[in-house]
Symmetry: C2
């Protein structure tokens, strides 16, 4: 067996950190026992006929079984496909078909969803009694000694906010290397979610998102213990944090927001949180800080894995204002990652803090294309780079601001206006609850940027444009980014994922008032 393979991480943890392990359902399983169960499971799976190259779907929350399958299937050289149970059934079926799942494991909560997939994947195993029976007989499996670091390990899907989800095939070494560098970046740098070896980690990112951002591999790698939440509410997450002395967690901003709402007073021990996926508003960052929660922001995705995490750039002295700006609104590439901002012709733009273009990323763990989708691969992977579809700005200190999705940004002539970036900036104004920057579409005059505001209190349009004008003068934004009109709304329309529904907003702009609501 090669060494840059996933199972090696658990073997090493069980030797080096025998007292650390996994908390799940109030039970603690130390790593050596996790390994023993994984070996037994691997043997049972192998007796069922699962072997090298088999594709196995798993439909479950972040459970101990789910984590153990991550290792047992890895031992066998089988390919795990963690299913995104938040997709529509139609999209879910699409992913099952594209991945080519030959088996389906499902958790007790997903019996009915599993049943719906029976036609597509007849070989199903409930991760309850049947599962335990699987594991209770047979000797520990001998690991597949022919496992190579370049063997495929898993298929993960993008969330597919536009169009069908797309998949990436990760090799063992891709996940080992990205896990190493995420860990090392946070150990080497001055970053709020600095990672040591004594953390107790609560991963709140579901495993179907790039294996929960790699926590099932990172935690045993550094000898940290893990608390698996299963399917719980934000209130019970808070209880888990207290009960297990959680020191480090990972979640998207909406999860963080929900968690913060359940906290009535600051945590007694500081909590470090790695967040990302969408922008962190300075309001959210501020509330987190008040509650003793320190945030670092990660940039990446299923089609590129981890690429950058916010940190104070080395050799830099910062004021506390700049520090908090850099740590919530900028990211620093992981060691060995090459990140550039390019114009639409693929020419690299200068990292001057203003030139806005598309982010291109290259890393030793980058997938070389989408799985079974040559057309999408061709448009998104060039010369070893992933062309991210994200709008970004490079800064002279080596950091990057990821300001928008290209598909949501507003284009004026040849230039992009980064709407998320502006939204984060506008949301700093006292009293503003939500804000969306949109294009006012005019075939005759070209698109112009406008903003829609939801506020606690009446805020005059001039207060907003005046504030932004000051940002222009401070060199932080460009003149032509300032919204030309400000609209007001009582309650933003939201998508099912809880994001502002910009399409709906654009369509109803002409019905919105251009003066503050009482």
């Amino acid at each position: 067996m090669d060494q840059l393979v996933i199972p090696q991480i658990l073997i090493e943890a069980s030797e080096k950190y025998p007292a650390q392990g996994i908390w799940a359902d109030n039970e603690f399983t130390p790593y050596p026992e996790v390994l023993a169960q994984v070996m037994q499971l691997a043997r049972a799976l192998s007796q069922k006929g699962i072997r090298k190259g088999s594709v196995v779907g798993v439909l479950d929350v972040n459970s101990l079984y789910h984590l153990e399958l991550h290792y047992a299937l890895g031992f066998l050289g089988a390919i795990i496909h963690p299913l995104n149970f938040r997709l529509s059934l139609n999209d879910l079926e699409y992913t099952v078909r594209l991945a080519g799942d030959e088996w389906l494991f499902f958790g007790p909560e997903f019996a009915s969803l599993g049943h719906s997939l029976k036609g597509l994947v007849p070989r199903q195993i409930l991760m309850g009694k049947e599962f335990s029976a699987l594991m209770s007989h047979g000797l520990p499996a001998a690991p597949d000694l022919s496992l190579k670091e370049t063997d495929p390990y898993s298929v993960c899907f993008t969330t597919g906010t536009t169009g069908r989800p797309k998949a990436a095939l990760y090799r063992h070494r891709d996940l080992v290397l990205t896990s190493w560098q995420i860990v090392h970046h946070m150990a080497l740098h001055d970053t709020p979610a600095r990672l040591g070896m004594n953390e107790v980690i609560l991963p709140l990112i579901p495993f179907f998102h790039m294996h929960g951002w790699g926590i099932p591999f990172m935690a045993p790698y550094i000898g940290a213990s893990v608390v698996l939440a299963g399917k719980v509410s934000p209130a019970s997450q808070a209880k888990l944090i207290y009960r297990h002395g959680v020191t480090w967690s990972s979640m998207v901003p909406t999860q963080l927001q929900a968690l913060l709402k359940t906290l009535t007073e600051p945590l007694t021990e500081p909590l470090k949180v790695l967040t990302g996926g969408t922008a962190v508003t300075s309001g959210l960052a501020h509330r987190a800080e008040q509650l003793q929660i320190a945030l670092s922001v990660i940039y990446g995705g299923a089609d590129q894995l981890g690429s950058a995490i916010s940190a104070v750039p080395p050799h830099t002295a910062l004021s506390s204002v700049d520090r908090s700006l850099i740590l919530t609104a900028r990211v620093l590439p992981l060691p060995a990652v090459e990140m550039t901002v390019r114009d639409q012709n693929g020419h690299t733009l200068p990292p001057d803090g203003l030139s806005t273009g598309e982010i291109w990323v290259r890393s030793p763990w980058l997938p070389q294309g989408y799985f079974k989708n040559p057309q999408a691969s061709q448009s998104s992977y060039h010369d070893g780079f992933f062309v991210s579809g994200d709008l970004g700005i490079g800064f002279p200190d080596g950091t990057f601001a990821v300001v928008d999705r290209l598909s949501e940004a507003v284009k004026i002539g040849d230039e992009w206006i980064p709407t998320h970036f502006l939204e984060t900036m506008i949301s700093d104004i006292e009293g503003i609850e939500q804000v969306a920057v949109l294009p006012l579409i005019s075939p005759q005059w070209g698109d112009r940027p406008v903003a829609v505001i939801q506020a606690h209190q009446p805020i005059e349009p001039e207060a907003i444009t005046g504030y932004l004008q000051a940002q222009v003068e401070a060199g932080r934004i460009r003149q032509f980014w300032i919204p030309e009109r400000i609209f007001y709304i009582a309650k933003m329309p939201l998508t099912s994922a809880g994001k502002i529904n910009k399409q709906t907003l654009v369509a109803k702009l002409d019905q919105l008032p251009e003066y503050p609501m009482a």
Copy 2:
């Protein structure tokens, strides 16, 4: 070009850390300029006929040219062989022949030695004017885009204390991965030579020892600046430390001892030092501490690269006494390194803090055998492990004590007595200057351990055995390790490398007194 290749490190540093770079001869060259010179040099070398697979010897101190050749040859896919100028001419010629050097670059100090090698390597280039001329014409080289991470990068030799030096062939990825993990180990752990990104590094290990323990790769990787000392005395090393604000250095204990002697008062800024190669006595550690120098100890070698560095084991609370013991006398395997202690049948011994056996090491960057030496390979590399020839003890906390070379340890029946370990322990007794633990050879009764003492003041044999008996009772050593007789000497005989000449001592034991000298 693959990404886990040496040149990629310099490309990344010149983009991410453009203000950092190399100090040499009081001149500072930032990384982007180092890269530009390296590209030009690569083109010039290529015009001379050096290409992929060419083997190029370099005979030089740690100079800027030497470092640039490390990258320029790497760009071309040529193989660098840094020559150990401390070897005898006979051994040096042996290494040149074994490596198959087709070219020889030599520094101005090595003109005469270079001349002596003319017969073996006719194509020679003086790294002075001729070298600069090489670099002054031609456009920057296009990097060799066909470079693979598995391509060979260099040939390095062991020091060959017993028999001829042996060589290892390192691939690009071997050196990239070991450099990563050395850096990351020291960033993740609680260790005195903790490595951050703002260090100024003075590498005092010559490049012919595993490329100066990898500093030419590690420093640009983390964006640290490097101070190259060239050929200087300990006194001028101290001046370099003050002049450039050096925060981190690497050197063997004899270099450290020499440096300490030149310091009349504590350093004004703390200095972190990575040391290793031979044991650090607690006396040396104590003197270093008084002078504001903090030590971490590395374990490795040309035949295995880096394997372990002393650090407080995670999840462990230590008293300050235990802490200093662990940090000077024990090492913790680097992440992804598997280290075990085995008996002579290859069976793993329990990490109980007492069972003594041979250290076996496995890592993702381990060479798979000696270069052009199948016989030595067969006896030292088994099942993907390097069988180190080092005597060690594993501890329950995951640390290891490297206590001796097997070839120098004393064997009683089937059991080993770790002489270096005992020597370090005995040297803690006030007044003892040097100590050697040796076998008193008796074909009739079997070998017995004895000690030879060089002391400032008279110390009774009972004081020594009594002290060791207390260590037995504290569970630190075994009863049968205690030397059965104590001999005294006024001045230890030394080898040319400054180590105690144990062979001479063994031969003259019967002439030494068994009572303290006045």
